[in-house]
Symmetry: D2
Subunit: 314 residues, 4 copies
């Protein structure tokens, strides 16, 4: 196989790109994400057709979608942000674009991208954590994506880390993504800035001056500048992220964890405390090899590249 197309469905825009066997993106098209479920299907098809030029042969299309995708990689069982319930996405796109389509959970696609062409190269057993607005995950075991019997494995964000804890959009309580995600980071910063504004003068100055005005980028900047509340907020996030990695090590025992998503852009400000917390909570740490904790390399392209490559794998 040669070239394939990867599609990434974001909250505000849909990106389609032609990807070669080395994971390089040759061309990209982005379109705004339409507000209706059917509109999104059309927009995906349009973007795919647009990115196909006459002089290149495309072998297949991989679509990364948030939510549950069935084990046939054809139907979106449930999407959190788009009103898709048992949506036969594969069939619909194939009919519109005339190419073979594979649908994949977006965090799985991103994990695959990092495994194949990013931080996971050289590892066969990798667990990827995407710390974006929420927390997503993907699992590579023995060089294969672990999708689970019904296609819905790797939903790390919703394991329960605090009994009777914070309400989650999924309807449950205490889900990991309530404690380790971009949204959690902002909550930590706002709570701390509200309780002790004198420790957050710099952070508050980066936004509109109020705790409610604090955004994720402010916290990242604040941490780099040494703002105490920002640093402490990253430390709190890292406390939960690292403890969760320790649990995943007990369960999956990978050779490496890859931390991606917007939060990971902060670099060592967040990576170093995550590594410390992981080490602190790893059970039996004196008697076992330790998985590495790596930062993702592909940034926001991981999902598109991964989806394209998964389509190539067939």
């Amino acid at each position: 196989m040669g070239l394939t197309i990867g599609v990434d469905i974001g909250g505000t825009k849909i990106a389609a790109g032609v990807v070669d066997e080395e994971g390089s993106i040759l061309e990209t098209v982005t379109v705004p994400t339409p507000p209706t479920p059917e509109g999104v299907v059309d927009a995906i098809a349009d973007a795919v057709k647009e990115v196909c030029s006459d002089d290149r042969r495309i072998d297949a299309v991989g679509v990364g979608a948030a939510g549950y995708v069935d084990d046939k990689r054809a139907t979106v069982l449930f999407a959190p942000n788009i009103d898709w319930r048992h949506e036969a996405l594969k069939d619909k796109i194939e009919q519109r674009v005339g190419l073979s389509v594979v649908v994949e959970n977006d965090a799985n696609a991103a994990a695959w991208g990092e495994y194949r062409f990013g931080a996971g190269q050289g590892h066969d057993d990798v667990v990827c954590i995407t710390l974006g607005t929420g927390l997503g995950g993907g699992i590579i075991i023995g060089g294969r994506l672990h999708r689970g019997r019904f296609g819905v494995a790797g939903e790390f964000g919703h394991i329960r880390v605090v009994p009777d804890g914070l309400l989650c959009g999924c309807g449950s309580q205490g889900c990991w993504e309530q404690y380790a995600s971009g949204r959690a980071l902002v909550r930590y910063a706002r709570q701390r800035a509200a309780a002790t504004p004198e420790n957050a003068t710099h952070l508050l100055s980066l936004g509109d001056g109020t705790p409610e005005g604090i955004q994720g980028l402010h916290v990242s900047q604040g941490a780099k500048d040494g703002d105490p509340v920002s640093v402490d907020s990253f430390r709190e996030l890292a406390r939960w992220a690292g403890a969760g990695l320790a649990d995943l090590a007990s369960l999956f025992d990978p050779s490496a964890f890859i931390i991606g998503g917007g939060v990971s852009d902060a670099g060592d400000v967040v990576l170093e405390p995550i590594r410390k917390s992981f080490r602190r909570w790893l059970v039996g740490g004196l008697y076992r090899p330790h998985a590495q904790v790596l930062v993702a390399k592909l940034g926001g392209k991981a999902g598109l590249v991964g989806a394209a490559d998964l389509a190539r794998q067939g």
Copy 2:
């Protein structure tokens, strides 16, 4: 391959058995577990030699041991109950018995036994939970035992379910096995009997009359007899067990869970509340197929049979 030998190392006795390709045990030998680490090695070898009769050809030996076993299935990195640290168990036993030896984590061996010859037949993606004194686990993915990169995957008992929770023998806090295991069950019953003895008159009468005298078998019997504290203790255990299964479903997405170990002998008294709790906490339960929650079939033989079969697989 034809016959293999499986070895199960228990706290009080070591069992070795000849197992055929259908998982039937043809002959068994048990010897007391010696108090010294080296004594255990000798006792394993002796038991293996004793169970080998002249008229049967044995192809290999599988040894199930509690603790971390390395990815080469040769060395016990750490054992919780025997003072083995980086113990080259495979080599030592092979030298003594003249047969090829495979070492495996005991809960992995039990999981494999159930997968091949017990409750897991017909499933390719199975997660097994052994509720014994502690909580052990084993993972089958796509018909293969998931051992992890370093051999120490599936340590379910030590994922953290309560931050800052109960101290665990592993040095960490809030480990799942402190809340879902035979030891937890007894603690629940003793605490409740101490706080409200009037609700535990029957349960107390099954032991020596004191809360401290309550043992696991008393709670099982009490629950069958309708003793309120016993029933409530199983319900508490099930609350934690089911919530943990829901997390494992989010992570692994198996088609079936198998619940084994001594606690599972109580049958529906514990299985039904576990199923309810699992259903209660399963994230996205309305939009995904549900894994079955099955009771183990092989009882205390699962580890021996599974170890023998893993040796056969080579």
Copy 3:
């Protein structure tokens, strides 16, 4: 002193009543709660003037208000539902009605009402819990209302019972009122009905058929009718309420707890499990006298009667 007026400021209406020395309400006036902070002040004054008839001498006015009231019982430091910040309520009302005014926290007023004329009669050390939409409290020590050095004691609803727990309107997390209150009860019922609708058919039929349509009265009715989800929801609430009472017993050591508020209208459906949970968690229960757990007697009138009586005490 003879007659005094008590005022109760609710979310939808303000009630003013003339109360005699035996706690009997001779006359009541209710007016709608205005939307603006200043409008509420006017409405209180109007209601007080309206309930004053010519042929009765009124000695003083007691106003119960949600929020922090200062130690001089004059200023509302902070109100959660009305935009009062350092509001000189005593002065403003006195100027308008020409009577001496005392301002009191509404839960304190209700506690005092129950102590003097309700379930607390015969006790000198009483802790009252009001399980309404939220959770309020009042403390009587040695026959005196415990207001604290700054007037803000007895804020039971916001002690932390779950570290990193549910977000509270107060900005903190894990506050008791998120787990033991009318709002918590409804959440428990909705979560359970959503996860296992087959156990909530009766409860769902009492509302509009959806989990989101379940209201507190439905859960109370459902529990009386034996609906499993309703009963279980009350039990969950009671689990948290009773554990909190056990903590308050360790701190205050009263002779009685009084449980009031709308949730307590369910009677033994909620009281009995609270008593059991209290007993279960009471530390040192075998070696100390146990406080009684009583249900409030004055219903929704406790606050008005208590405020009037506190005004009488001067």
Copy 4:
């Protein structure tokens, strides 16, 4: 009244001292704590008689004892360390020494001592926390010791701060003293030193080189020397201590907290983070006066001096 005697019953020694009206100790006698319950009674009497010299008139004796003391201040209902159950300590000592005796909970006595002659001077509403091996407390409301209806108020150590948390000697789980006490401090340090020994080289060098050999004094010294694990251990203790103070402020609303006990000897190393944590968790902190968080002044003498003064009060 003039001179009284205060008695402090410690785990290793019993101290009796003559105290004047200004809280000055004129003379002290200490004897080893006998191993039997009756032996302790005798030793108290002997120490009291020994400290009485001919030329001073003693008016009364106050005895501070760990455990529950009844509301008549006569009987120890339950002692955690001595096998006293409904022990009529007042009568027994009075018979032996011929003086009027008052028995008081030891943490209450220490709180009273600090209130009268130590850090609490000038405050009428004080909550004292003794961070010794465990966590004890005492409450002063309006200048009076709050003993509760049955004499057992102020048992701060056993309020539940973590549901399903650490086992406590009291039989319950998640008690505050498991997270904020000298014992907790040592546990924090040992756990951290075991998980990350490279961060604890200095701390480990203060003891015998092993995590298990770390004692409280080592952690105090280590923190003063800037050892990272020691500092982090104090911070963890302070996190829990401060959050608990915030709860006590919601309940009691004192003008000051006084932190005593051996842990408080570390001074600002522990006080400053406690103050920060208190401030962080105080509910409604922007709208209410804040209680001061003071360090105790009387050290190990607080209990003896307080018991003597309570005896004087009659």
